[in-house]
């Protein structure tokens, strides 16, 4: 398999409307999570990271009419626009568009507003983005639960490796909607306070919304200091459709397969960006899989304490932050971590620190028993 180079990127989240603002917030330890009072979503207050729509509209006005697009579309369009601004000569007729999301415009199910019913379809979301910028190829839409955003990168690499794609935009986004809030509530999975990944007092997830975009290419950029995706794998647990595997089997196998493709060993991984949703069973499962993979000493963090769980966007955002972490040789702390609350020892990053990072590993897991591992290399 060829390498996939991770080029320019953008993140639109409660932490800021650019990658730079997001990284600054993470560096300063700021979180986008707060107690929300949103009767249109749910009657009781809840912890989540939600984007304020009025500054979003203000920014969006520079590129389009905010009334003609849904909130999620505006977030995703803004992210793509930022990356395009840095690449004005990109030929969009030859650039693939990979859109990743779990629920897209699902908020329209309760209240479609002025939007036609078909706008709820994920294929329409792809079309809106493609038409807005003039992408000529049919958008590739990935909806594979909470690994979607990272899987989008693997999809680009896999299609690129057989010559079907040269450059691609991978775009991810999901909302905090009444739909997902009531769903995770019915699962008794929502934390009463900001989520605490891997901590012994963790008590469930916090939801978050965000969008991100990344330009990727099979061609190696001329400049040095690049991050490339060099190994990827997804493996299903074949165990339960919502409960994480007790043995971490699918995640363990994903890591093994992704590493095998790169011919590097677990010991060479300098940093691990975990999924870390802060549910009791997910974090426990990850600790088992990491331990089985001999990654117990590798510095790791979960970004859920900053963003909450941004579902289909999470693994893309976390890959972007990993990329910058590697380029800056800098480890960001795992927010809201107190004391280790999983059965296997892990090296949770408790303070920001400088560290040479040549190889990074990004993992994610999701409903349906899916797991993903991506190995990134600095060249």
């Amino acid at each position: 398999m060829k390498k996939l180079y991770l080029l320019d990127d953008a993140i639109i989240s409660p932490l800021g409307f650019s990658t730079e603002e997001n990284i600054k917030a993470i560096r300063e330890g700021r979180s986008g999570l707060k107690r929300q009072q949103k009767p249109e979503i749910t009657e009781n207050s809840f912890y989540a990271g939600i984007i304020d729509e009025s500054p979003l509209n203000d920014d969006f006005k520079a590129i389009g009419n905010p009334k003609k697009y849904t909130k999620l579309e505006k977030m995703m369009l803004l992210a793509v626009q930022q990356v395009l601004n840095k690449n004005p000569n990109l030929n969009l007729a030859e650039t693939a568009l990979v859109v990743t999301t779990t629920k897209g415009n699902i908020n329209l199910l309760k209240d479609p507003g002025n939007f036609p019913e078909i706008r709820i379809k994920l294929s329409e979301l792809g079309k809106v983005i493609a038409d807005f910028f003039g992408f000529a190829q049919t958008p590739i839409i990935v909806s594979n639960a909470c690994i979607s955003g990272g899987l989008g990168l693997a999809v680009a690499r896999r299609l690129g490796s057989i010559g079907k794609i040269k450059n691609a935009f991978v775009v991810g986004g999901d909302l905090v909607s009444d739909f997902v809030v009531s769903g995770f509530n019915s699962f008794q999975a929502l934390s009463q306070e900001a989520c605490k990944p891997f901590s012994n007092d963790r008590n469930g997830i916090s939801l978050g919304e965000a969008a991100a975009a990344m330009l990727v290419s099979i061609d190696k950029p001329e400049s040095s200091g690049n991050i490339a995706l060099i190994g990827d794998a997804t493996v299903n647990d074949a165990n339960h459709i919502s409960g994480p595997s007790r043995t971490g089997e699918g995640l363990y196998q994903s890591i093994q397969k992704a590493l095998k493709e790169t011919s590097i060993s677990a010991a060479e991984i300098d940093f691990l960006s975990a999924h870390g949703t802060a549910t009791i069973y997910n974090d426990e499962m990850e600790s088992i899989a990491f331990h089985r993979s001999a990654l117990q000493d590798t510095p790791l963090h979960s970004l859920k304490g900053y963003y909450g769980h941004t579902l289909g966007a999470s693994a893309l955002i976390e890959s972007i932050i990993t990329k910058h972490s590697m380029l800056k040789n800098y480890l960001y702390s795992s927010k809201n971590f107190g004391e280790l609350g999983v059965s296997k020892s892990l090296n949770i990053i408790q303070q920001n620190e400088e560290k040479e990072i040549n190889y990074g590993l990004k993992t994610a897991s999701g409903f349906g028993g899916c797991n993903l591992a991506l190995v990134l290399k600095k060249e």
Partner: protein, 200 residues
């Protein structure tokens, strides 16, 4: 790297009819989806209590896969590459309705299209590659390219790929088992021909 792959077998479920590469397997005029699905379950003499807990999309996927895997050997690393247009919208609507009174966790868990990949993995013990794509209509090109990439790179030795759509009670299922065994050549053209062929 150019290695040829074949469509070992396929299955179609549409308008009450089920067929595979050899013949028509089942034909029913039943319009009610749940009743139809239960009649196929009984016809196949499936003994799988979990089936009754699944949503329509998952039931369709399990039935289609069961038919393919009964007649064909398959490897435990068989990748699952599915696509559709409606995602899990059928169950999304039911879940949204339930939130007006008591949000149902058993419905919520099926509000992702890739849940069927988990159900198939569990039933047939496949710890393998998964991807679920959404497209406006049957996208033979993407299914072929993505499958080919996994097969030629050695990420998998066989692929179960296809279309699994359910919207407003109307279903359209077309699944193919792809391997290196010789049969129908695996190409965008042959996928299209099979998918668009009349059910007769």
């Amino acid at each position: 790297m150019q290695k040829d792959f074949s469509i070992k077998d396929w299955v179609k479920i549409k308008d009450g009819k089920i067929s595979n590469s050899k013949n028509e397997i089942f034909n029913s005029s039943e319009k009610n989806l749940d009743v139809f699905l239960k009649s196929v379950y009984d016809f196949l003499e499936l003994k799988y209590p979990k089936f009754h807990k699944m949503d329509g999309l998952s039931k369709l996927g399990i039935l289609g896969t069961e038919i393919l895997f009964r007649e064909n050997s398959f490897s435990t690393d068989t990748a699952l590459i599915f696509s559709n247009n409606s995602s899990s919208l059928e169950t999304d609507r039911q879940f949204q309705e339930s939130t007006k009174t008591f949000a149902s966790p058993a419905l919520f868990v099926y509000t992702l299209p890739n849940i069927i990949l988990g159900e198939i993995s569990i039933k047939f013990k496949l710890q393998s590659e998964n991807a679920f794509f959404i497209a406006e209509s049957f996208n033979a090109e993407l299914l072929k390219n993505y499958s080919e990439s996994l097969l030629t790179s050695g990420k998998t030795s066989e692929v179960l790929c296809g279309w699994l759509n359910l919207e407003n009670g109307e279903y359209d299922v077309f699944l193919c088992l792809i391997s290196s065994e010789i049969n129908i050549p695996f190409s965008e053209e042959s996928l299209k021909n099979l998918y668009f062929a009349e059910n007769d």
